[in-house]
C-alpha cells in the first residue's frame, strides 16, 4: 500500500477548485517558498487519517481547515480531502486494487468519512487503516518542528512507540 494521490477541495489555502497531487512510491520532495502551502498538505493527510484535534492541524476549530477566501475568491462551504491508496498488495481488507478514503468538514464542524465513495464511520475507517499500521498519531508523520520530540519525550512514552509496532 502507498499513496497514489491526494485531492483537496476547499481545504486551507488550496481554494475552491479541486487540486490533485499525484504521488508514487520512492522518494518525493515538496518544495516552495515560505507560506506557499507545503505544510497544509501534511495537515490534509493528518485530516484523512482521522486526527480529531484541530490544534494538531494548526487550527483552533475544525472549521478553520476550510478555505477562508481571498480578495478574489469567496470562502468555501466545506473542506474535502481524499487520499487514493494503491492496494495491489492487498494491505487493506478490501477487494479493490485502489482504495480512496475521504473526509469532509463543514462550517458547523460537522464531518463525514467515505471509503470508495460510500459513507463510513470514523471507527470503520480507523479499523481499515490499522490493517496497514496507519494511526492518526503514528510516528510515520512528523509535523514541522516536531522531529526532536522523539528525543525529548519521556522513556515510557518512547516504549509506547515500540509497543505499538510489536
Amino acid at each position: 500500500v502507498f499513496i497514489e494521490k491526494v485531492t483537496m477541495k476547499g481545504f486551507k489555502s488550496y481554494g475552491n477548485k479541486t487540486l490533485t497531487l499525484p504521488l508514487s512510491k520512492g522518494f518525493t520532495c515538496i518544495v516552495g517558498p515560505n507560506g506557499s502551502g507545503k505544510s497544509n498538505i501534511t495537515d490534509a493527510i493528518c485530516f484523512v487519517v482521522g486526527r480529531i484535534s484541530a490544534k494538531s492541524m494548526r487550527g483552533e476549530r475544525l472549521s478553520d481547515l476550510i478555505f477562508n477566501g481571498t480578495e478574489d475568491e469567496k470562502k468555501a462551504e466545506e473542506a474535502i480531502v481524499s487520499i487514493t491508496f494503491n492496494n495491489e498488495d492487498g494491505g487493506f481488507p478490501i477487494e479493490e486494487k485502489k482504495v480512496t478514503i475521504s473526509r469532509a468538514v463543514n462550517s458547523k464542524g460537522e464531518g463525514e468519512y467515505r471509503v470508495n465513495g460510500k459513507r463510513a464511520t470514523r471507527s470503520y475507517v480507523l479499523d481499515i487503516f490499522s490493517y496497514v499500521g496507519i494511526r492518526p498519531d503514528g510516528h510515520n508523520i512528523v509535523m514541522q518542528g516536531d522531529i526532536a520530540h522523539f528525543i525529548n519525550m519521556n522513556p515510557v512514552d518512547r516504549r509506547g512507540i515500540i509497543e505499538e509496532i510489536s
Binding site: I3, G15, P22, G26, H139, N140, I147, R158, S166
Partner: protein, 161 residues
C-alpha cells in the same frame, strides 16, 4: 506479551545502532531498557554518543544531534516494520549541510521499500529526490502545485548560491 515486545525491541535497537553510525560517522548510539527485569516497569532510554563524545544524557545533545538521533530511530522502526508512507516536514532544518546530505542518502535507500514524502527547504535534500513537487502562491492566498524537474531546480539553487 513481554517476549514479543523484547523481540521487537532488540531488532529495532540493533537497527538503530547500525543506522546511527551510518548517518553520524564516528558516533555510536544505543536503545536501552530502563529496567532489566520486566520491560513494562520502565521505559526506553536513548543513549547517543555522536563523534564519540562522553554525552551524559540525550537532553544535552545539540539541536542537530537530536534531529539525527530521532531520524535514526524512525528509520530503525521502518526497517523492522515499514509504514505504508512517511511524511517528514522540514526535519532537516537544524542539520548542517553534510548531515542533510547523509540523511537524504539514507532516505533514498529506505525509499526503495517505502514511500517517503519530504517537505524541505534544503538543496542537499531536494537534489537527491526522485520526484519534486513545487508549491507556490502566485495568486494571493491561493496555493497551487506543479511537478518540477530535479535537474532544473538544482541548477537554479546552485545559481542562487
Amino acid at each position: 506479551k513481554s517476549e514479543v515486545f523484547l523481540k521487537t525491541f532488540n531488532e529495532i535497537a540493533s537497527n538503530f545502532s547500525e543506522i546511527f553510525s551510518e548517518i553520524s560517522p564516528d558516533g555510536t548510539a544505543q536503545l536501552l531498557l530502563e529496567t532489566e527485569g520486566n520491560p513494562f516497569d520502565g521505559g526506553i532510554i536513548v543513549d547517543a554518543k555522536p563523534l564519540g563524545k562522553n554525552v551524559k544524557t540525550a537532553v544535552s545533545l545539540s539541536g542537530g544531534e537530536k534531529a539525527i538521533t530521532a531520524l535514526s530511530l524512525i528509520f530503525a522502526i521502518q526497517r523492522y516494520k515499514p509504514s505504508p508512507f512517511y511524511i517528514l516536514d522540514e526535519v532537516d532544518a537544524n542539520l548542517d549541510d553534510s548531515n542533510v546530505e547523509r540523511t537524504a542518502d539514507m532516505i533514498k535507500r529506505q525509499a526503495e521499500k517505502t514511500q517517503f514524502i519530504v517537505i524541505t527547504l534544503r538543496e542537499g535534500m531536494m537534489s537527491r529526490a526522485e520526484r519534486l513537487f513545487g508549491v507556490s502562491m502566485y495568486k494571493k492566498g491561493l496555493s497551487s502545485m506543479v511537478a518540477l524537474e530535479v535537474e532544473k531546480v538544482v541548477k537554479q539553487e546552485e545559481a542562487l548560491a
